[in-house]
């Protein structure tokens, strides 16, 4: 099943404002991180989701608090869309008091309740199966959602997991953020066949989403997610998307032309054009808020960790 979610219907106003807030929160959070790196205020590594923000935002109202979410290296958007908590995440990345994981996890290793990210590609799919066994047994309709990139289909664990998810009818949703690149490697160099066919290999349900209109995406996905919840059938959702920023920091090997072309598909300009006033208001609010947050967090003492002793 390939469903194009392109033509944007009009979203309800209340939702729209909340959506814009989340979208722009993620966008400017990521921009802020790149700034902080540039000015030497951050070290370690970070992977921003510039261009892909709309994916977790689209999913947010479709997911329940008792769903598990497995995120990956490019996970800030997933976290912010789930918790709307730039403070805990920024403190985490800066290693400051109030950090959601006490500064231990950092950008790539976040856990909060039923949300968890980690830095080894593909590792989370088998884990999502285990969680889903329990969710299915609980019988409350909870699902395990795992975000992976297109490049992560290189990992054998992905296939081991899909096979088991289908064999045992587990409520697992694999969200593929297909930005057609993995670090510097284009998908043509990385992937034979297609993601659709790989889901088909295991008779796993598959939906293809092209376009960034939130309401259209939600309309497509609502019944599909209901099926996962009620019939416990795993589902792969492939989002056609684009990574607008570097893989990590200053490591983009793509041409400026190519980046400009990708940028033409960015949700930012489209939403800005469609709702100029609201957009501007929200964007200013968010930028002000983030700037304040940054200054405040910078002044905080370092995060404290009660290390487990043997």
């Amino acid at each position: 099943m390939t469903i194009s979610a392109s033509p944007p219907p009009i979203a309800a106003a209340a939702t729209l404002q909340a959506d814009l807030q989340l979208l722009l929160l993620i966008r400017h959070f990521e921009n802020l991180l790149l700034d902080l790196f540039d000015t030497g205020k951050l070290n370690g590594t970070t992977h921003t989701c510039l261009g892909q923000e709309y994916i977790p935002v689209a999913l947010t109202p479709l997911l329940r608090a008792d769903d598990y979410i497995f995120s990956n290296h490019r996970g800030h958007g997933h976290y912010l869309a789930r918790f709307g908590d730039p403070e805990g995440l920024l403190a985490e990345i800066m290693g400051k008091a109030g950090a959601v994981c006490h500064g231990v996890g950092g950008s790539q290793h976040i856990k909060r309740g039923r949300y968890l990210s980690t830095g080894v590609q593909g590792e989370s799919l088998p884990v999502a199966n285990g969680v889903a066994v329990h969710l299915k047994c609980e019988g409350k309709g909870g699902v395990a959602v795992a975000y992976i990139g297109d490049g992560t289909w290189g990992q054998g664990a992905v296939y081991e997991a899909l096979n088991m998810a289908k064999l045992w009818s587990l409520p697992v949703v694999v969200v593929v953020e297909n930005n057609h690149i993995a670090q510097t490697t284009s998908q043509a160099r990385n992937m034979a066949g297609s993601i659709a066919k790989r889901a088909a290999a295991f008779d796993v349900d598959f939906i293809h989403i092209d376009g960034s209109d939130l309401e259209a995406i939600r309309q497509t996905l609502t019944p599909a997610l209901a099926r996962v919840r009620t019939q416990h059938q795993p589902l792969v959702i492939e989002f056609e998307t684009q990574r607008l920023g570097p893989h990590s920091k200053g490591d983009d090997t793509r041409s400026t032309e190519m980046l400009a072309e990708l940028k033409r598909h960015d949700w930012h300009a489209r939403y800005q054009a469609a709702h100029p006033e609201l957009f501007q208001t929200v964007e200013r609010e968010i930028q002000t808020k983030l700037a304040g947050l940054q200054q405040e967090i910078e002044k905080r003492p370092p995060a404290k960790w009660l290390r487990k002793t043997a």
Binding site: Y68, V104, G105, V120, P126, V131, A161, A310
Partner: protein
Amino acid sequence: MSERVVENLNRSLKALMAADASVYFIGEDVLDPYGGAFKVSRGLSGSFPERVFSTPISEAGIMGLAGGLALAGQKAIVELMFGDFIFLAFDQIINFASKSVTMYGETLPYHLLVRCPVGGNRGYGATHSQSVQKFFIGIPNLALYELSPLHDNNVWIPKLMNCGQPCVLFENKILYTQPQLGPGPVDDLFQVDFLDAAGLMARACIEPDPAGKVLLLAPGGMFHACLKAARQLFLEQEIEVQIVVPLQLYPFPAESLRELLPQYRAIHVVEESTAGGTWGAEVTATIQKIFAGNFPRPIHLIHSLDSIIPSARHLESEVLVQPDTIVKAVSGRAT
């Protein structure tokens, strides 16, 4: 007929799953009537069909599944068919399960028990005979245990399952068909007692006083080889040997042996692993550490050769530690 080790282990698993509905059992070919390659899981799928998962041949996927169950607050036991395949699941063990306990800044209770059959002397060849214990030493939040005929699994399996961090239980395959033993006499010469209150350290000795005797410190899989060697050393050379069998390999609880160890005349750490980076080296380092580097006696390591494990039995027994290897090492140091 006394209980065999495989029956003791199987009974403990059944009891655990009966008592605790949050325990899952996962492995390849573990359904009845087969009950796993070594029959340890017999009867589990019959009694707990919804909690026993017989899986595809996907060691990494299986370990991840178990990790996910543990993450969701459940308890998971993984049976690997041969320990040699654990390397396929190494990433899930080191980078997911054990890390999750502390990587997120708080201590996450985690209930995962990996059962890992190891060892050779069965002519199975190089990819089905390894003693892989040493490769898992020094992973933060991962505790290692070894099946022993002297320790009652009915006591220990629930403890391992509930200790709050992932554990691996290594099981030397030759033990399964051996009789389950315990405190008291094991033959006409040797009797078993426990050295610590917890009951982690079992000892087989002719008489308890350690003074001037030789210690063989050996995990459960080596018990019978050590016992055979100890009998021979006593009967043929009048060398009196005590055998201490720790259930827990890592972290090695050396503290509980602090008083005892210096009293021995000589100490040998015995294991089936091939040479290099052995458990014995870790045990030595741990003992030296609690004695601030000044433990008064050399600690000798007895292990298999630096070699792959060949298939033909006569070649295999040249590579792997045999009772005779132990006899030679002990009497060689005794003169």
